[in-house]
């Protein structure tokens, strides 16, 4: 048998010994959360088809822990908004966001979700950050699956490094207040 250098799973910094590993709680929680994000694919148009290609066998998104797509907001962690959001759809997007339980993250995929895209018209919402707070923006029309995966990895970085007390902090409440969400 060759002596293969096996790359074991990533472990956070800490002190280890015989049968114990000492680290801080938020590192462990971050590690657990980042590798088991359940996305809610809010796919409205062409970017949704690129998402279908990302979920298929070639660019498999379930390698990153999101094997189970949740269509129910109560059971989802990550809201991926893919495609154009029109003014008629805006209130519905907000209801879905409000129904999600904390902690929750939002990823806006595609030029139309980030800023209205090529549709500078009376009926298209010029960017979803007019109604909900967004964590990661993935530009492109439509973005390649590799770009969507990179956006996902950036969300994973945010999840890993987030403090456990962030969601009750004053700053977060003020952020939600600017959107009118209690």
């Amino acid at each position: 048998m060759k002596n293969i250098d096996i790359n074991a799973a990533y472990k956070p910094e800490g002190i280890e010994g015989e049968g114990y590993f000492l680290t801080t709680l938020d590192k462990v929680v971050g590690l657990g959360r980042k590798n088991s994000l359940w996305p809610l694919p809010f796919a409205t148009s062409c970017c949704g088809i690129e998402f279908m290609a990302t979920m298929a066998a070639g660019y498999d998104l379930s390698r990153f822990g999101s094997e189970r797509l949740s269509f129910s907001p109560r059971q989802a962690d990550l809201l991926m908004v893919m495609g154009t959001i029109s003014k008629k759809m805006g209130p519905i997007l907000r209801h879905v966001y409000e129904q999600m339980a904390e902690p929750k993250w939002v990823m806006s995929v595609g030029a139309c979700a980030c800023s209205g895209g090529i549709f500078d018209t009376y009926s298209v919402l010029q960017g979803i950050d007019r109604v909900i707070p967004v964590d990661v923006y993935v530009p492109g029309c439509p973005p390649r699956p590799e770009q969507i995966i990179e956006g996902f990895m950036k969300i994973q970085h945010l999840v890993e490094t987030e403090s456990l007390r962030r969601r009750e902090s004053e700053e977060y409440k003020k952020l939600l207040g600017t959107y009118g969400i209690q």
Partner: protein, 400 residues
């Protein structure tokens, strides 16, 4: 006596429940809403609401020069965008009476048939996923990736392709593009046969789809169906045969026609159409003529770079075309092609200006989705879901 009847009727009314098959729903592929009035599991009535992705294409088109409208047409039926691009180019070529050489037409046919295969792959695998058979989706999407690679080689983009130009194509197929097309052609039949063996004769699939969502011939004509949905109902209307465009009369292919218009027929018609598209591509590759890949349309097609750098006239034409100041004749024209879902038509009124005066897009999904409440009346909820996914309603084409 009368009062008792009225009471009975009111009691019966109270037992109906209202279910909102809302805009965001995993099973409706796209965002449109249906409010269903149900008696237990049976659907009594329904009211669809669309417009959740209305992007005002017709109004944007009044502002953009002719070359830039191609990027809008990509986003109509985004599962098969090259067909929409070619339809727009052919409409403008009809307006200016341009003649396109045979080689460019055959190349267009290959691109259109590849995108038709891509569109039907999505629809058929998604019908199978809705009945619970997800394996077909994972297997066949690899072939959709192969088609994406071919489009990437030809034009640079995977999904919203903006392929071709008014007057021909922007470049000839490179050797790498031909190799990728050959690789697709050699591997696809085995995969499609495997999908066929997996799903078509499966007892559960057949039980769930036969007799579900039937459409009669009279109803198909009344609701102006077109495309695979109409052919499944029994009427063989195919725009490629009735009003041939782009040299389709040179190719030999059959039109699959169903009998009862139910979900199984729609599935089978699309499956068989994939085989016929494969046949057309084989013939086009074998009979590909030599020649130029663009026609003589100096007002719309960019001149060759060598001429732009050396002659003043070509430089002026290049500038005018890029800035969108082409000379367009006045007139009104309607041209239709066989899109992935039916007859996709463009009605263009030009008043001589740099942008269209009025562009109306005849979208097949918008027209045949009106019949959905009538089709699902009296059926069960799960059948309604399957009917919707087999009708292949693409939200981009519904709202435009």
């Amino acid at each position: 006596m009368e009062l008792k009847e009225k009471e009975l009727v009111e009691l019966a009314e109270k037992n109906y429940s209202v279910l909102n098959l809302g805009p965001t729903h995993p099973a409706t592929h796209g965002i449109f809403q249906n409010v269903l009035k149900m008696d237990g599991e049976i659907i009594i009535d329904s009211e669809p609401t669309i417009g959740y992705i209305h992007r005002a294409f017709e109004k944007i088109a009044e502002r953009k020069p002719y070359n830039q409208i191609t990027t809008l047409t990509d986003r109509l039926n985004y599962c098969s965008s090259p067909i929409n691009n070619m339809a727009w180019h052919m409409t403008v070529e009809k307006l200016i009476n341009a003649e396109i050489p045979k080689r460019a037409q055959y190349m267009r046919v290959i691109i259109m048939e590849l995108s038709r295969i891509a569109d039907h792959i999505i629809c058929d695998t998604v019908i199978a996923v809705d009945t619970g058979a997800a394996t077909g989706y994972f297997h066949l999407f690899q072939y959709r990736e192969m088609i994406y690679e071919i489009f990437e080689e030809i034009c640079g983009a995977r999904l919203t392709t903006n392929i071709g130009r008014i007057g021909g194509l922007e470049r000839d197929f490179s050797t790498m593009a031909w190799e990728k097309i050959q690789k697709f052609m050699s591997k696809f039949p085995a995969a499609l046969k495997e999908f066929d063996r997996l799903v078509t004769r499966n007892r559960i699939f057949m039980d769930r789809t036969i007799g579900v969502g039937s459409v009669s011939k009279e109803m198909a004509m009344r609701y102006s169906f077109s495309g695979p949905n109409m052919r499944a109902a029994g009427i063989d209307y195919d725009v490629r045969v009735m009003n041939p465009y782009c040299s389709y009369e040179d190719f030999e292919f059959d039109i699959p026609v169903g009998t009862s218009g139910d979900t199984f027929d729609r599935f089978m018609v699309r499956l068989e159409e994939m085989w016929q598209s494969y046949r057309i591509i084989e013939q086009a590759i074998a009979k590909m003529p030599e020649g130029r890949y663009y026609g003589d349309v100096p007002d719309f097609y960019l001149p060759q770079k060598e001429e732009v750098y050396s002659s003043m006239e070509a430089l002026i034409y290049h500038f005018k075309i890029v800035m969108g100041e082409n000379d367009v004749p006045k007139g009104e024209v309607y041209h239709s092609v066989e899109g992935g879902n039916g007859e996709l038509g463009f009605y263009l009124i030009s008043d001589g200006g740099r942008t269209p005066f009025r562009l109306h897009i005849r979208r097949p999904c918008f027209i045949y989705y009106q019949s959905y409440p009538e089709i699902i009346k009296g059926g069960m909820l799960s059948d309604a879901i399957l009917t919707m996914s087999s009708m292949n309603v693409i939200a981009g084409e519904l709202d435009a």
